[in-house]
Amino acid sequence: MTSGFPTLWDSRSFGQALDAAFNALVAAWGETLEWFFMPVLRLLRLMEQGLQTLPWWVVLAGLAGLTFWASRNWGTTALVGVLTVALGLLGIWNEAMATIALMVVATLLSIAIGVPTGILMSRSDRLRTVAMPVLDIMQTMPIFVYLIPFVMLFGPGKIPALLATIVFAVPPAVRLTDLGIRQVDAEILEASRAFGASPRQQLFSVQLPLALPSVMAGVNQTTMMALSMVVIASMIGAGGLGYQVLQGIQRLEVSRGLMAGLGIVFLAVIFDRIAQALGRRMQTSLHQEG
């Protein structure tokens, strides 16, 4: 080392202290946390096994039905149906079902965490100032960095994969909920206050309905973020399509990687279409024109 940057503080022993502290934390809290997340793990397993044991045509009908209900569009429904069948044709049905289960649970939890956090943030400028950089860090920090503590706490498996996915997928839901609420027309909110609406009534009668397009855009982004995590998450035992890609790399099998990769793309399209249609549907039911 010749750069000559002065050693102003002892970064190495700071690192050691941090590691020691975290190890102590793992020792003290690891089991409690594992117990705490047990229900989530059960839900995930149940969903995965459910999707894998159902006959393929039930899953197909379910996805197509959901798409049609949300979009009222035969074209979109046909696209989702064809892509779902393609998952089976590629021979990756079971892996795809595992990935769907992980994604659905991760997305639902991200929404359950992200939307209320966004609501809180829209109500406090101070919280927003603190939270914004944290959200930036959550999204820009290389994902592998939080795999380390999660794996240490829970051991390799589905739970750390799920948590890492959530950390990555939550920010858009938070951000766009906050933004949507802050952009609500001030006069409409004022009208609601003038008629004596409590903060809760303001939230449910004005702020959330008017912020919904933005919230749904956030939810859609959250879904895509979650999907983009599946390969990395599979490195710590999430299984599914990502694991096939990983094996393709390890065994140098181009075909395996390619097929799983295509499967991920198909899932992305399926989820994107469904999420968009759901968003539009919620919007039109709020802004009916006739």
């Binding site: 006069e187 008629f195 008017l210 802004h287």
Partner: protein
């Protein structure tokens, strides 16, 4: 319960980080511009005192930035004052706690907004029911009441439309119906008709007058349009830079402006249409020529008779009894603004 009506006592409002300190500076003589430049605080209102009678239309008038919106938002505490008191029927509303304030807003005071402030995702009926539902009234009762109000403002049959499907005038009638639905005694209207076309606007003014004759609410009406103020207002307050320059009846303001600003403000108004014959009647004169004018009619109704060469025209009260006469000279004085 104290005196009915509303009293505004020494209301001041400074916007900024330390409004109380900034207000001290204003009290020791610092002007609005200097305050903004030196401390970054905006003086919204300064020492406003008003008495608003129960059941009257009280118009607050002023140019853009004079503090009208700031003032009207004090009556339902959408804005909190830096100093002063507001008594509604003798009760200081600034003392109300959160639940008390909510109840006050739900039952005693309602508001109509310049850009309507309707909920775009709810239909007309649901919008009109809004205040009632907020107050926990059952849906059935709220709906019944909302339908009555819609009929009152001439919008029966539009219940299931959405705000975006209606013209501006119709949207504002929905806003008015929503405000009337809670049966509040006080109605706040912040430039309620300013966003409408002139013709529709005039319709709405007449409709409001007709409704008021029936409902007898206490209405605080904001406008920057003098003709509107004179047409609607039982009393008018003229606001400039956050202070009241003059408060009185339309005739008082026209005939005895308190200062140069008010005089210039009212300079261009069509006095012949605003001042009434009764206001310029000389009670000492009796004329016996045929023909007479009603004391409540605008001066311009007498023009035709003067054009025939009459020197003085009899003025009669509502019962047809003569109360005096108006002369050429009086008419000319009134039109000249003296």
């Amino acid at each position: 319960m104290g005196d009915p009506g509303i009293r505004v006592e020494g209301i001041s409002k400074v916007f900024g980080k330390t409004p109380a300190k900034a207000l001290e500076l204003v009290r020791s003589g610092m002007g609005k511009a200097e305050l903004l430049e030196k401390t970054g605080h905006a003086l919204g209102l300064h020492d406003i005192n008003l008495t608003i009678g129960a059941g009257e239309i009280f118009v607050i008038m002023g140019l853009s930035g004079s503090g009208k919106s700031t003032l009207i938002r004090h009556f339902n505490r959408l804005i909190e004052p830096t100093a002063g008191r507001i008594l509604v029927d003798g009760e200081d509303i600034l003392r109300l706690d959160e639940p008390g304030l909510r109840n006050f807003r739900r039952r005693k005071i309602a508001m109509v907004f310049q850009r309507f402030g309707l909920l775009p995702h709810r239909n007309v009926l649901d919008n009109v029911m809004y205040g009632l539902l907020i107050d926990g009234v059952t849906r059935r009762k709220a709906e019944e009441r909302a339908r009555e109000q819609l009929a009152l403002v001439g919008l029966a049959g539009f219940e299931t439309r959405f705000p975006a499907q209606l013209s501006g005038g119709m949207q504002q009638r929905v806003g008015l119906a929503r405000a009337l639905a809670t049966d509040a005694g006080i109605l706040l209207m912040d430039e309620a008709f300013s966003a409408l076309d002139p013709l529709i606007r005039h319709d709405m003014q007449l409709q409001l007058k007709a409704l008021q004759a029936k409902l007898q609410k206490t209405i605080i009406f904001i406008t920057h349009d003098l003709d509107e103020a004179l047409l609607l207002g039982d009393h008018i307050a003229i606001l400039k830079d956050g202070t009241v320059r003059q408060a009185g009846t339309g005739a008082e303001i026209l005939t005895r402006p308190a200062d140069d600003y008010v005089a210039r403000f009212v300079h261009d108004v069509n006095r012949a249409r605003i001042l009434t014959c009764g206001q310029i009647t000389d009670r000492a004169i009796r004329v016996d020529t045929p023909g007479s004018v009603d004391a409540r009619a605008p001066i311009e109704t007498a023009f035709a008779a003067f054009a025939q060469g009459e020197q003085a025209i009899a003025v009669v009260n509502g019962n047809g009894q003569p109360i005096g006469a108006i002369t050429w000279q009086r008419v000319m004085q009134a039109l000249a603004g003296r």
